[in-house]
Amino acid sequence: MSSTERQLLTIIAEAVLEQRLIDLVKRLGAKGYSIGHVRGEGATGRAALDFAGPSVRLESVMTDEVVDRVFEALAADYFPHFAVVAWVVPVRVARPERF
């Protein structure tokens, strides 16, 4: 395979944010995303959040520029008040034009 690099961004967030995060990554340039569901604990404490169902686990493979933009937006609008964590890993992909 070609060894083109892209960034895999994983976001875990409380359930009410699902649609908002999808809109966010698409608006900032991600060409695709996948969503699963998880349960967990972090700084916020479990009980206060899971009334709305399991947390969202969004993953999206994107370019470096897009990942930076998304992180900025997360830091500005979501980190302060919502239960959200995110991390980034470089991945190798085929068909780089698709990401």
Binding site: G45, A47, A48, L49, F51, G53
Partner: protein, 318 residues
């Protein structure tokens, strides 16, 4: 008299199921039902309530509807304001948290409503069918009014978004969808669906309250963090709102059963639609506070003691 009504309410299958599941959870036994059942049963209950309401609506005169509708609108305005005032003064909450919590008390809990219906049915009281329609009205209005309080004080962004979330959300849509289905199909042609939507209703509610017992008990554990003021208000607010609801019901000319149900609606606190809306509109408010109050304190109080009290109020006032 109240004692006997309380016992009558307590000994119905749904309420006992709630109590047993709650106690089991408090001693750390796992009586949780499988996850998908929660969502399935709550959709079923909403749709079934809606269909029942629409069916009854089809048999009512529209002239009967105006006064109860006005009563519901009035309750949707008064109850969150009263809750807000109490939460600010007695509860000592800041504006944001008081408004966030008031939204829950201004809105309603469909499950509490349903338990009231089951209790009244068990005691042979009849209830006006169109009350399911008022449930939908009250669910929205109370949230709007409370969020408006916070907005006036300049601290809500997601306001319209939050509102759309409530209005287009599943709980309203299933209820209204059921109403329309019930109304359009009509009493007679609905008969083949009765085994599902009528006969199974109380059993499904019993099953659902097993799950609610678990969830409420888990919340109750958080009550310590919320502080005793919240615990007290979680009982005082529903009693106050319930009294106002009973008064409104009797003024609107409802039957004793209908008045008891309207009082229950006024007294009940939302724990699905309101938290979702508030989380968006007032993200800085603390869910640990409002979810604990509505789900950990007020919901069990209403199911176990509140409903019989509101019924007694209704009997006095009608």
């Amino acid at each position: 008299m109240i004692a006997s009504i309380i016992v009558d309410n307590l000994l119905t299958a749904p309420v006992i199921a709630f109590v047993v599941a709650g106690l089991a959870t408090l001693v750390r036994a796992d009586i949780r039902l499988p996850e998908p059942l929660y969502a399935v049963l709550s959709s079923y209950l909403l749709l079934a309530i809606g269909i029942k309401g629409g069916r009854a609506l089809g048999l009512s005169e529209s002239a009967e509807l105006w006064r109860p509708l006005i009563a519901a609108l009035a309750l949707g305005i008064i109850t969150p304001l009263l809750a807000f005032a109490l939460l600010r003064r007695v509860g000592r909450l800041d504006t944001i948290n008081a408004a966030a919590t008031a939204a829950h008390y201004g809105s309603v809990s469909a499950v509490t409503f349903t338990v009231a219906l089951a209790t009244l049915e068990a005691s042979g009281q009849s209830v006006e069918g169109f009350l399911a329609g008022l449930l939908a009205v009250l669910e929205v209005v109370g949230i709007v009014v409370a969020l408006a309080l916070a907005r006036d004080r300049g601290s809500s962004d997601g306001w319209t978004e939050a509102l759309l979330e409530v209005i287009r959300g599943r709980s309203i849509t299933l209820l209204l969808g059921g109403l329309v289905i019930g109304l359009a199909v009509g009493d007679e042609r609905l008969a083949p669906t009765d085994p599902l939507f009528v006969s199974l209703f109380t059993g499904a509610l019993t099953l659902f309250l097993v799950e609610m017992g678990v969830v409420a008990a888990e919340r109750l554990r958080d009550a310590r963090d919320a502080g005793w003021r919240i615990v007290v208000l979680g009982i005082v607010i529903p009693l106050a709102n319930g009294a106002i609801g009973a008064a409104a019901g009797s003024l609107a000319g409802l039957s004793t059963g209908g008045t008891a149900v309207l009082a229950t609606l006024a007294a009940s606190a939302s724990y699905i639609a309101a938290p979702a809306a508030v989380r968006i509109a007032l993200p800085s408010a603390s869910p640990g506070l409002y979810v604990t109050a509505s789900l950990g304190i007020t919901f069990p109080f209403n199911v176990i003691l509140g409903i019989p009290i509101y019924l007694a109020m209704a009997q006095v006032l009608t």
